[in-house]
């Protein structure tokens, strides 16, 4: 092979090379600076065109995401089409934040519980008031169960629209209760008595997890506060951790810890560790999500949902999260976003919808969906919807309106440390709640 000849043939003059290199550098830069599609300005006076970006987190089964992708990529509204993107739950917030900051965020998305409030504060959310009006006209609004839209209403309007619910019911393993010779508890006293009996057979009556990435521990404590008529906030949304009912609820937790109802290792448990405890029969009772049977792989119908426990003052309640869709100001067409939302919400309903297919891993918030035979077929889900749904309250309890700061409380370090402190059982309730109060005030300031 004559390499010398070859090299002489491809000699490039320096000027030409520099011109080529310069052009190569400039083209992508100019391309990046250019518009990434036809926006509403481009189609002023005409039907909007462009690509409406929809971002979703991973929900329920993998089938949900596969179905969603197929459906969404087939959506068309005049000149608008939709693009589907899955955002992994592990870095959901970071991805949304960075993308929205760069002006490359979605037009419509799902997300975590308080996301819409956070981005509304950043001015990135398109309020859903007009959409709500449309839903009132077409009957979709009236199909909601009571009280699920109002938590999203702020002074500027609705930041999001609900599609589902995640709630924290109390579960028990029948065989362990039978083995311990106790009935299914109905109130705190019988719960404590059952827990003590379970401790004698080596089972835990308050199975929970407060380690890395595990939120059930904190959720369970807040649920108990709500169960006792309390909550982390007052009616005006101000932190009120030292509310008497909260102190009473946390004293009850200390009593459970002292009675051996809590696995001492649970302060370090991940969510998977907790599910393992449910699988291997160590966990007898505990507050988890509504789909525990699938997480714990229960195929023998041994896991069941309790009826809500009555607190010492007769209150009932637990923590609930409303899953929602939100619209952003960065859209090729606001009307297109709303049309998409209407269409997308309908995909969750009906006998052929996502809930009927059982792929969401969530509970429905529409009356018509709750009544579906496919939904009612799971007796635990049916019981949660019938008995726990009506007593569920949001993270802002005793208040009713959600707000952005709840994200830094729910996922924050203060509640996690508080939970670990309570589960260790070495600190009195008031001291622990006082530390929680200052921690919450610090992140909300």
């Amino acid at each position: 092979m004559n390499t010398a000849d070859t090299s002489s043939r491809i000699t490039l003059p320096r000027r030409s090379f520099l011109a080529f290199a310069g052009a190569s550098t400039l083209v992508p830069i100019l391309a990046a600076c250019a518009s990434d599609g036809e926006g509403p300005q481009a189609s002023s006076g005409k039907l909007p065109t462009g690509v409406l970006k929809y971002w979703d987190s991973i929900l329920g089964t993998g089938e949900y995401n596969t179905l969603s992708k197929t459906l969404i990529e087939g959506w068309k509204d005049g000149g608008l089409t939709a693009e589907y993107q899955i955002i992994p739950a592990a870095n959901l917030f970071q991805t949304f934040q960075a993308s929205i900051a760069a002006g490359k965020g979605p037009a419509v998305s799902g997300g975590y519980a308080f996301q819409a409030f956070q981005f509304a504060n950043e001015g990135a959310i398109a309020y859903a008031d007009h959409l709500i009006e449309t839903m009132k006209k077409n009957g979709m609004y009236d199909d909601y169960v009571a009280g699920v839209t109002e938590p999203f209403k702020t002074s500027k309007g609705y930041v999001a629209v609900p599609w589902g619910m995640d709630i924290r019911p109390m579960w028990y393993r029948k065989s362990l209760l039978d083995k311990a010779g106790v009935d299914v508890p109905t109130d705190w006293d019988s719960f404590l008595a059952a827990g003590k009996a379970l401790a004698k057979i080596g089972a835990y009556g308050w199975a929970t997890a407060a380690g890395t990435g595990a939120s059930y521990g904190g959720h369970a404590l807040v649920s108990l506060m709500i169960n006792n008529g309390g909550g982390l906030f007052d009616e005006h949304g101000k932190p009120d951790c030292l509310y008497a009912r909260n102190v009473e609820a946390m004293d009850f937790v200390r009593e459970m810890v002292g009675a051996g109802m809590v696995d001492p290792a649970s302060v370090s448990y991940s969510t998977d560790n907790l599910y393992d405890q449910w699988k291997n029969g160590q966990a007898a009772m505990g507050i988890v999500n509504a789909t525990l049977t699938s997480e714990a792989g229960d195929t023998e119908d041994d896991l069941a949902v309790m009826s809500p426990l009555a607190g010492p003052h007769g209150d009932k309640g637990t923590l609930e999260y409303l899953k929602n869709f939100m619209m952003y100001t960065d859209t090729p067409s606001q009307q297109g976003s709303e049309d998409f939302m209407i269409w997308w919400l309908k995909q969750f309903q009906g006998t052929d919808g996502f809930f009927a297919k059982g792929v969401t891993g969530s509970l429905p918030v529409n009356k018509s969906v709750i009544a579906l035979p496919q939904v009612q077929a799971d007796k635990n889900v049916a019981k949660v919807l019938k008995e726990w749904g009506p007593v569920g309250k949001g993270y802002a309890a005793r208040g009713t309106t959600l707000f952005a700061g709840l994200a830094s409380v729910d996922a924050g370090t203060a509640i996690n440390q508080f939970t670990q402190t309570m589960l260790q059982g070495k600190t009195d309730s008031k001291s622990a709640l006082k530390t929680l109060q200052s921690g919450i005030e610090s992140v909300l300031s």
């Binding site: 320096r14 520099l18 290199a21 310069g22 550098t25 917030f93 970071q94 934040q97 960075a98 929205i100 900051a101 956070q118 981005f119 950043e122 001015g123 990135a124 407060a210 380690g211 890395t212 990435g213 696995d263 001492p264 290792a265 649970s266 302060v267 370090s268 448990y269 991940s270 560790n273 393992d276 405890q277 291997n280 160590q282 994200a407 830094s408 996922a411 924050g412 370090t413 203060a414 996690n416 440390q417 670990q420 402190t421 260790q424 610090s442 992140v443």
Partner: protein
């Protein structure tokens, strides 16, 4: 020297070619053209480095001086975020544990790595197999190894707590007891890091002339004296470099702590890098979180500079 010669030298000094075709073709232009070419060729890389490293760094400084979020910058607050971080007792606890974690991680992994490197110098059968196996903790992704350790120690039904119970140690809570959790994450860090130290030490040991050892033995030095007065000084430079690198690895080590304990229980294993992450992404306090990260970086730089000075002093003669 002739006038022509003097002019030639003058041209040469000023960069003008002796045999140039004209007075204006000369070296400065040629040199300038070449420099321009080089500068243009380097420019994309410089541009990328500035964009990728410089811009985020500058933006982070700006964020540390504001009270906003990742999306909105918020109001300028001066050094208030630094003050807030320094006034938080959790910061000082995290700083202390970062120190413990780093010292244990660096010297624990170095001691084991050096010991194994010395052992592997001896002629052993299947040495390469041993070496490969010993490298596994370093090679395996940290997510996998931390999950494996979690399975080993997390619950009372895990293998290690069961073993401890069988040995009469009772119920040992490796991740739930604050002190044991600290010990566990430090041991995990040593386990993950010793292969790196073994490689570094092995490479340094291989570069030592065996005649030095023979000379030491002829002079009557025993094994201990040879190790402390010959081997260690001769690998000092490499040792300091490995300490610097491991110090940076330990201070910046996020996954080890986060995946194993998340900084708990009740902050017992919280390090500065985990605290910075939690402050920004869990508490959504961007300014204080970035301020913590900056202070952490400053400490890492100071330690690195101090160790670099030791390298210069290292006796490698």
């Amino acid at each position: 020297m002739t006038a022509t010669g003097a002019r030639a030298i003058g041209r040469a000094v000023h960069g003008v070619g002796v045999g140039g075709r004209s007075e204006r073709s000369p070296r400065p232009r040629r040199f300038g053209g070449r420099a321009l070419t080089l500068a243009l060729l380097v420019a994309p890389s410089v541009f990328l480095v500035v964009v990728i490293h410089g811009y985020p760094l500058v933006y982070a400084v700006v964020q540390a001086l504001h009270d906003g979020s990742l999306v909105a910058l918020g109001d300028f607050v001066g050094l208030q975020n630094f003050v807030t971080a320094l006034e938080n007792p959790v910061f000082w606890h995290a700083a202390l544990f970062t120190l413990v974690f780093t010292v244990t991680g660096v010297f624990g992994s170095w001691a084991i790595g050096l010991g194994l490197a010395l052992l592997l110098r001896k002629r052993v059968h299947v040495r390469s197999v041993f070496r490969t196996l010993l490298l596994l903790p370093w090679i395996v992704p940290i997510v996998v190894s931390s999950t494996a350790w979690n399975w080993l120690v997390a619950t009372p039904a895990s293998p290690v707590p069961l073993l401890a119970r069988d040995l009469g140690l009772g119920s040992v809570l490796f991740l739930a007891d604050p002190t044991l959790a600290q010990v566990t994450v430090c041991v995990f860090k040593v386990w993950v890091s010793f292969p790196f130290m073994m490689l570094m030490a092995g490479a340094a040991l291989a570069s030592i002339d065996t005649n030095v050892y023979e000379a030491a033995r002829v002079d009557g030095a025993n094994g201990r004296q040879i190790f402390f007065q010959v081997t260690l000084p001769l690998i000092a430079r490499s040792t300091y470099i490995s300490w610097i690198l491991m110090t940076i690895f330990c201070i910046n080590d996020f996954p080890t702590i986060f995946l194993l304990t998340g900084g708990g229980p009740v902050n017992a294993t919280n390090t500065l890098v985990v605290l910075a992450y939690q402050t920004v992404f869990a508490n959504f306090q961007t300014g204080p979180g970035v301020a913590i990260a900056f202070m952490m970086t400053l400490v890492a730089v100071l330690i690195s500079v101090a160790l670099f000075r030791q390298i210069r002093r290292a006796d490698v003669s």
